[in-house]
């Protein structure tokens, strides 16, 4: 019988104890005064507050029910385009995030050795002064570039970037190279935008999904759209070495050999171009480079692709025909986490080009509304100082076409270890968990060892916080304001549902406080969170009070290039670039080209990882509500293969790669290719401050090998090969 705290208990517990810490008595959570003022919460502490989820980056709008000053239920906001009234399991569990007994509620300063988990509570004054002094000392001694800043993808990102750029460091670590660099750079090269928006309308007949396990890696509204498309009768062809839940709903599941999505798509292009199935007029009018493309793909026949992918040539040909028949109501989905193989960039290029050839622009794909709306205001701030230092992550001197804003995170980490071209000395981390997210955990820990000072902003003692010198407690998303989020013709507000517990503070406050101590106050010209948002709202002519009531305000939509009669794209040629001169100029192939992936040895398996509906990356494993409804993480192995190796379900096995070894239990299943094994990422935490998550499962980053695609900077997460033996 699992000994977990009952929900009744935790609501009474508050912030009792986290590991070796002895937290003081928590203040009773008060209903956000602001919500009271807005009338959304009444005098008894009951009411509803509109806000936004942060359990993943989809950020569904939610309506929080408050009773007696406590959040008791979250429901999707019907008026938010990402939720449409629904919340996924993580969204529903969000209040457990806020009421997690393991939350960090005061600033912590390390007293033991890194990794011992011995911290002492400190006041914000002391902690912020310490952080500022350490950062300043590093800047003075080694230059601003010796301070690395990394944050994943927050609504408070603009203020984070203020800290980074104003401080003068070029070293911006986002996690994107662990996720979708390949997709973004490919889209940028082809369409001149990071990611087109997908249109799931009643006409959509055919969807080609390459990976993108939408029914487990849930993006609420898009997951809904996909199921509705299937419901209407659209055909979904799904490529994945695993029989995921998406596979179970897809019309056709192709268990493709890992690393060979590229071969499949090149063969599709071969058929579509070779048999002239593409949209001639669209291609002539809106694309450049068709001839180069045609020349390149002429050798990628289905017969060539069949042995590489494990998919019969007739199937590939048939799918090409079906796709073309359904066009333009056929969508080749880019996927999302495209950091699979070094050749993933070319796969992404092939996919974007496939869409372009079908002429499905403004039918199934269109320009997305950006997340930075030009319509919103912002506090005044001076210009950033010029930064001359090289970036540690090799952009652009090693990775010429990787955008600055996304960088190459694993390279950054590698060069902290190597000290090349210079040694970093400090790391400021916010809403990010590099110890778990970066491949090769051992190397990340080594990087930590090279740094004089590490400070982390987080809400629980995640692994990265566990190994830091200072931990600054951010308020959970139900307890804070964040900058407004534009979406289509609305801007959405995240506002506190309850006052932050303990001493937790919003990132807006933390960054400003830190900024001021670093002499960068001019970049944080707002009194408090509300003032910041008011300044954002000024051009819209609405008051904060109005926005608080509904959770959003109407805003003029960003200018859409689709509105003009002429279609243009933000590429050098102004057209869709089937051949990218930008790539060719720096020595890469201008068209998608075959890049043979590495093969595992006889006794090795591809190590696959992927998402599940009940967790988000590495941050939610401590959430007891999600834990309750999650399977125990296991190593999946094909049942036949397991039998041949003399392994059975529940056996303890040793999984070894060239960088690390883990022990975990086996699950023999039919749902995976014989040459692959799978682990759910995000387990095997080192932090004992995560009482629910500690001791559960094994860690994937401990065995992941670092491989970087030279074009997009993307990490190749599925390129790690492991041996599996009985432990």
């Amino acid at each position: 019988m699992t000994k977990t705290i009952s929900r009744r208990d935790f609501l009474k517990l508050g912030a009792a104890g986290a590991g070796a810490l002895a937290l003081g008595q928590m203040l009773p959570p008060k209903v956000a005064q602001a919500a009271r003022d807005a009338g959304t919460i009444n005098a008894e502490g009951n009411g509803f507050v509109h806000s936004m989820c942060e359990m993943c980056v989809w950020r569904c709008g939610l309506i929080a029910k408050v009773v007696d000053g406590r959040v008791v239920k979250l429901d999707g906001n019907p008026e938010h385009p990402h939720s449409r009234g629904n919340l996924c399991p993580r969204g529903q569990s969000g209040l457990m995030n806020t009421y997690d007994p393991d939350r960090v509620l005061t600033p912590l300063i390390r007293v033991g050795k890194r990794g011992e988990g011995k911290f002492r509570q400190a006041s914000w004054e002391e902690a912020l002064d310490l952080v500022a002094s350490k950062m300043t000392a590093i800047k003075d001694k080694y230059g601003a570039e010796a301070m690395v800043f990394s944050s994943t993808h927050n609504l408070s990102q603009p203020l984070f970037e203020n800290l980074l750029y104003a401080f003068g460091s070029p070293n911006y670590g986002t996690q994107r190279s662990l996720c979708f660099n390949a997709m973004i750079v490919a889209n940028t090269m082809t369409y001149g935008m990071e990611e087109p928006a997908r249109i799931y309308d009643d006409e959509l007949k055919y969807i080609l999904l390459t990976g993108r396990n939408l029914l487990e890696a849930i993006s609420t509204s898009e997951t809904h759209d996909l199921i509705m498309a299937i419901d209407r009768g659209a055909k979904v062809v799904y490529l994945d070495p695993r029989y995921t839940k998406t596979a179970s709903k897809a019309t056709e599941w192709l268990p493709i050999k890992p690393g060979n999505d590229l071969a499949f798509h090149l063969a599709l292009l071969n058929i579509i171009i070779g048999e002239k199935l593409y949209n001639r007029s669209f291609v002539e009018k809106n694309t450049v480079g068709f001839d180069e493309l045609k020349k390149e793909v002429s050798r990628y026949t289905p017969e060539w692709a069949a042995p590489l992918t494990g998919i019969p040539a007739e199937t590939i040909t048939r799918i090409a025909h079906e796709f073309a028949d359904a066009a333009p109501h056929a969508l080749a989905h880019n996927g999302w986490r495209t950091s699979n193989f070094v050749n993933s960039f070319h796969t992404q290029r092939a996919i974007t080009i496939l869409n372009a050839l079908m002429g499905n622009w403004d039918v199934v794909l269109t320009e997305a509304g950006g997340e930075e709306s030009g319509a919103l205001g912002a506090p005044p701030q001076p210009a950033y100082p010029r930064i001359s230092a090289l970036r540690l992550d090799g952009v652009p001197w090693k990775y010429p076409v990787v955008p600055f804003k996304i960088g190459v995170f694993q390279e950054l980490r590698d060069n902290i270890v190597s000290g090349d071209p210079y040694q970093a000395h400090g790391w400021f981390i916010s809403r990010q968990n590099p110890i778990m997210s970066l491949p090769d955990r051992g190397k990340t820990l080594k990087a930590f060892g090279k740094l004089d000072f590490i400070v982390t902003v987080d809400i629980v003692l995640n692994d990265t916080a566990w190994f830091s010198d200072v931990v600054l407690p951010e308020a959970s998303y139900l307890e804070r304001y964040d900058p407004l989020m534009p979406m289509g013709n609305k801007v959405f507000l995240r506002q506190p549902v309850i006052e932050p517990q303990g001493e937790a503070k919003s990132a807006l406050w933390i960054y400003k406080q830190l900024g001021e101590r670093l002499g960068l106050g001019d970049f944080f010209q707002y009194e408090d969170e509300e003032d910041y948002i008011r300044q954002q709202l000024r051009p819209l002519g609405v008051t904060l009070e109005e926005v608080k009531a509904k959770g959003y305000a109407e805003a003029p939509e960003a200018a859409h290039s689709g509105e003009s009669s002429e279609l243009t794209w933000n590429t050098p040629s102004g057209k869709i670039e089937l051949f990218s001169d930008t790539l060719a100029k720096v020595g890469f192939s201008g068209v998608p080209t075959w890049d043979e992936p590495p093969q595992p040895a006889e006794d090795q398996f591809f190590l696959l990882t992927g998402k599940i509906a009940t967790s988000t990356q590495f941050g939610t494993q401590n959430n007891q509500l999600l834990h309750k409804y999650s399977e125990e993480p296991r190593l999946w192995m094909n049942a036949q293969t397991a039998a041949e190796l003399g392994l059975a379900t529940d056996d303890w096995v040793e999984v070894t790669s060239e960088v690390g070894q883990i022990h975990t239990q086996l699950l023999a299943t039919q749902a995976i290719r014989p040459d692959c094994v799978y682990m759910t990422p995000g387990y095997g935490h080192l932090s004992k401050g995560l009482k629910t998550a500690y001791g559960v499962g094994a860690n994937d980053s401990a065995v992941h090998v670092t491989y970087t695609d030279p074009i997009s900077g993307g990490q190749a997460l599925s390129q790690t090969f492991v041996t599996v033996k009985k432990a």
Partner: protein, 259 residues
């Protein structure tokens, strides 16, 4: 929304992605302990041999049967069926005998084996979220379902909708709405692409499973009275017979003695 005369759920197994949002939502809405649940997913899971695979799971909670077997079985009447659908459990009457757990053909009621005599060990099951449905909201599980696998509405309307859906996609669905007639009809209707037994649903006839049991119970008092009458008759008859024998013996004795 038209007025709901009989609250019901419609579950479409082809849309369910086993994401468990419904389960988390129910746990939160109804403040359920971490080691208990009112709603669960069950089914055959993954079936077949690689690569010819199929997956079947379904979300379970109380079926809110039209002829609830729990209500029939409970000795103290702790279950009631509202006219508009929901079957409600009353912990104030419950004696914890757990007969309802056996009686329910869907094995719905859960019992708290971890409570002693002071806290009291009670049954728990889906309540149909009365705090929501009587306030113009959908049940928590339905509201949050990202794929509309769970829907809510009036029973007749949902049944009609279900049949329409089958008619629109005849090769996708099994031509049957489970719960329309099973066990005398339930308020949780199910559409499926695979045999219902693979979703874990029992094969039930249209007559409620409590029918035989209730018929026998109806006969109890008449039987008792009848049997009592028979026994009284026998006892009286035997008694009379024995008395007569004794009188005969007494007369014979007297006759003997007087000789």
């Amino acid at each position: 929304m038209t007025e709901i005369k009989h609250h019901a759920y419609l579950f479409d197994a082809t849309r369910c992605i086993d994401c468990r949002a419904c389960m988390v939502a129910c746990s939160v809405e109804n403040n359920i302990d971490m080691d208990k649940t009112r709603i669960w997913v069950a089914g055959v899971g993954i079936k077949g041999t690689y690569p010819d695979l199929q997956r079947g799971t379904m979300v379970y909670h109380c079926m809110h049967c039209n002829h609830p077997d729990c209500m029939s079985a409970c000795p103290v009447g702790a279950y009631t069926k509202a006219e508009d659908g929901p079957v409600t459990y009353n912990p104030d009457l419950c004696i914890g005998c757990r007969y309802c757990m056996n009686a329910c053909p869907f094995s719905v009621p859960h019992f708290d084996y971890d409570k002693g005599i002071i806290d009291g060990a009670f049954i728990d099951k889906c309540t149909f979220c009365p705090q929501r449905i009587y306030n113009g909201q959908e049940p928590a599980c339905v509201q949050t379902c990202p794929t509309d696998a769970l829907e809510y509405g009036d029973r007749d309307e949902l049944i009609a909708k279900a049949h329409e859906r089958i008619a629109a996609h005849p090769d996708r669905y099994i031509d049957h709405v489970y719960g329309e007639f099973e066990n005398g009809g339930t308020s949780y209707l199910i559409l499926s692409h695979i045999p219902f037994s693979e979703l874990g649903l029992p094969n039930l006839p249209e007559t409620p499973v409590n029918e035989v049991s209730e018929k026998v119970m109806e006969m109890t008092i008449p039987f008792a009275l009848g049997w009592g009458a028979v026994l009284s008759g026998v006892a009286a008859g035997v008694g009379l017979y024995n008395k007569k024998q004794e009188e005969k013996a007494a007369i014979a004795e007297k006759a003997e003695a007087s000789k």
